[in-house]
């Protein structure tokens, strides 16, 4: 059974969802407090959603300096599997473990709804069970999800297949309307160059049970199980 650490920062609030999703899907979840200095016996790390440090300064800007992040970085740089969800994605971007930054949503609204998300790359530990082009319906809940990167590096990102997820309409079409927050190239999630670190703004851990409105999040956890 794979052991997955869920890092809890002051202000994280999606850690319980992540822990219970993991427990329900056949993983051994481990709650890790941000002040801890070590990670051991871990097969993967999840940085959950929430409002770490109240989003003070910039989302994730202070959480990336937490003591546990040195261990997370070492784990990531040695090939360990790391998934950043929403605020977790913001923290990984601020830490430089993922390229780019997440700006305030184009329309200045906190957006809370289910969106279409297309899987662009299935060669990551979190998308291996998906088909390229598969559309997942995942909820988003954020104010700062507007992905940005300078155009030169953005071209590089595309060329190196580091775009993992893109926003689409319900039916799987990309358009300005279907892009909830203004992200460049409709990017909903990216990976690092070696594809072991993935960040996404949508919340897969919230849709792992029909009773909760959907099961599309399972694709991501099933991929991790098979990794």
């Amino acid at each position: 059974m794979k052991t997955v650490a869920v890092i809890v920062f002051p202000g994280s609030n999606c850690d319980e969802d992540a822990l219970s999703a993991l427990a329900g899907l056949g993983f051994s979840p481990k709650r890790v407090w941000h002040d801890d200095k070590k990670l051991s016996g871990i097969d993967a790390v999840i940085l959950p959603g929430g409002f770490s440090y109240g989003d003070y300064l910039r989302c994730g800007a202070i959480a990336r300096l937490s003591p546990i992040m040195d261990a997370v970085e070492e784990f990531a740089r040695s090939g360990g599997k790391v998934l950043g969800i929403c605020n977790g994605f913001q923290i990984l971007a601020e830490r430089g473990l993922l390229p780019g930054a997440l700006l305030r949503n184009r329309d200045l609204h906190f957006i809370c709804k289910t969106v279409g998300v297309r899987v662009e790359n299935t060669r990551t530990p979190f998308t291996s069970q998906c088909k390229k082009g598969q559309i997942l319906h995942l909820p988003i809940a954020h104010m700062e999800g507007n992905y940005t990167l300078d155009l030169e590096r953005l071209e590089e990102l595309e060329a190196k297949q580091q775009v993992i997820f893109r926003y689409t309409s319900d039916k799987g079409q990309m358009s300005e309307d279907a892009n909830p927050n203004g992200s460049l190239h409709h990017i909903a999630g990216v990976s690092n160059e070696t594809h072991n670190v993935v960040g996404l703004m949508p919340h897969p851990e919230r849709v792992i049970d029909k009773l909760l409105g959907g099961e599309d999040g399972k694709w991501i956890f099933d991929s991790l199980k098979a990794a």
Binding site: R58, E94, A101, L103, R104, T148, L149, G182
Partner: protein, 83 residues
């Protein structure tokens, strides 16, 4: 001895500033038609106690800004010494 530094952080010119745009709309709806654009940023005042020279301090402040106060992917900054 330098006691206070002011660091201004603004989004880079090419980055869309939705907050600035919202403030612009607000000003225009109040009748201030002279305003054609608004960019909103942050100002940090740092109180300092250090024997370091001005250029050494400026270097330290630059590091502080790069490491925490600004995200160089999306923001530019300006350092000024007060007092």
């Amino acid at each position: 001895m330098i006691k206070k530094a002011k660091i201004t952080v603004l989004l880079k010119e090419q980055i869309l500033d939705p907050q600035g745009k919202a403030v612009l709309k607000g000003l225009q709806s109040l009748g201030f038609g002279e305003v054609t654009d608004v960019r909103q940023g942050k100002v940090f005042y740092l109180h300092l106690e250090s024997p370091k020279s001005r250029s050494e301090l400026e270097e330290e402040l630059r590091k502080m800004t790069h490491k925490l106060l600004a995200n160089p992917i999306m923001e530019n900054f300006k350092i000024e010494f007060l007092e």
